[in-house]
Symmetry: C2
Amino acid sequence: MLEYVTAADDPRLTDYTRLRDVELRKSLEAERGLFLAEGEKVIRRAVGAGYPIRSVLTTRRWLASLEDVLGDATVYVVDDATMTGIAGFPVHRGALASMERLPLPAVETLLEGGARLGGCVRRLLVLEDLVDHANVGAIFRCAAALGVGGIVLSPRCADPLYRRAVKVAMGAVFSIPYARMDDWFEGLSTLRKAGFQTLALTPDQTATPLDTVALSERVALLLGSEGDGLSSHWLQEADEAVCIPMSGEAMAAGVDSLNVVAAAAIACHGLMRST
Amino acid sequence: MLEYVTAADDPRLTDYTRLRDVELRKSLEAERGLFLAEGEKVIRRAVGAGYPIRSVLTTRRWLASLEDVLGDATVYVVDDATMTGIAGFPVHRGALASMERLPLPAVETLLEGGARLGGCVRRLLVLEDLVDHANVGAIFRCAAALGVGGIVLSPRCADPLYRRAVKVAMGAVFSIPYARMDDWFEGLSTLRKAGFQTLALTPDQTATPLDTVALSERVALLLGSEGDGLSSHWLQEADEAVCIPMSGEAMAAGVDSLNVVAAAAIACHGLMRST
């Protein structure tokens, strides 16, 4: 159903207000239970993954490319200036969809797996308090591409369905099942009860190199935040601290760590070696 | 030597003009043979790596933290508003240094190594036409952290000394030796003459998994551009095409490749396995 809208402050468009205002978006999206998919490809993947469309905002030019995916969704058609006015910047990918969030599975349910969740999860990432949406999106993309079975987020970890995370992940946030812990302090005990070996990734070069660890049937790799790494609580709780070996020369020159996405990529690749 | 400057258009400050204007900066920096280091840590690393300071732009507040590294360099001291006026945005790291570029070694010289270049290079990255400065910076950071010995750039690859690359690399662009090819078409023959096994990284899953390749004494890994990957010319010229194995399920869901930084991280880690 097409509706032509001409004013950027039209109340029908409030799902799309000020996309770069992170604080506004966080509260608006939480209250309304929505997230935004940007561009035809990502919208298509979100719909394919079963997320219902609340509405779509686009310009005449992009309508045709979306037609087959829209079903009976409400489509607000605007001109470029109105699009820029509401979003707060020029939307190069031409279309935004406001999608309904689905309830996240409980961590236990994710670990049990089952058909809808892609079967029994054997390799898991656990993200503790990552704050950067682009990093979260990039890690989802790596994990999905390399075949990690699921992701568990700490209570304070950034939202994978935030627009920037969805964009950087190229929609991989829809293809890999994830859940969020209620309780950070007891979070790892749930994993242990489900039979997961917990490996804490650290830049500390005295830890065991990841490639030499004997991997169990089920392995959860813990990744810490961008600045401080893993909390000491999780480091101590984990079965083993593991590291990616770095060049002694580089460390002497002050290049003392990989960024979290590079570390996650190497670690995900390492996790899959025996599967 | 301190000089207090109050006008953003003072001709002494033109090295620092409009930092976000990529085209302007490219021509300005090429003509003057300069690059910019941002923030105390990166400035310190640039000086440590032997790059001479042309001048420094900072505010009173940050002077003390830089004092020991400045020598007799000219330091322009401005207030925050002037800093923002000249740069075109608020410079959060408080200090910018305009540094003199040093002549790059020829590719042959880099491959021969020698003390100044960190000895004989055994593991090499070759970047073909990467256009994104942040990706180039991130790859330098990975390569340095993991112990890759040098980087060779194709003639059209983005500049590692561009401000954003330097920033993302956290200064690793100063610690890893690199050179730029004059000739893209014949570029790989130089590497072969120096005894390098050339491995072309491709998302094509019919290629040999990198982890199963028998690595020679000297290995050069070729990485292609963000959009199109390696040119068919280089793919054909290389000794072997190699891939990072990906999840069949993910590829079916359309998550069909890792981004170039994640791929580079995994590949650099893989290159170091036998060294």
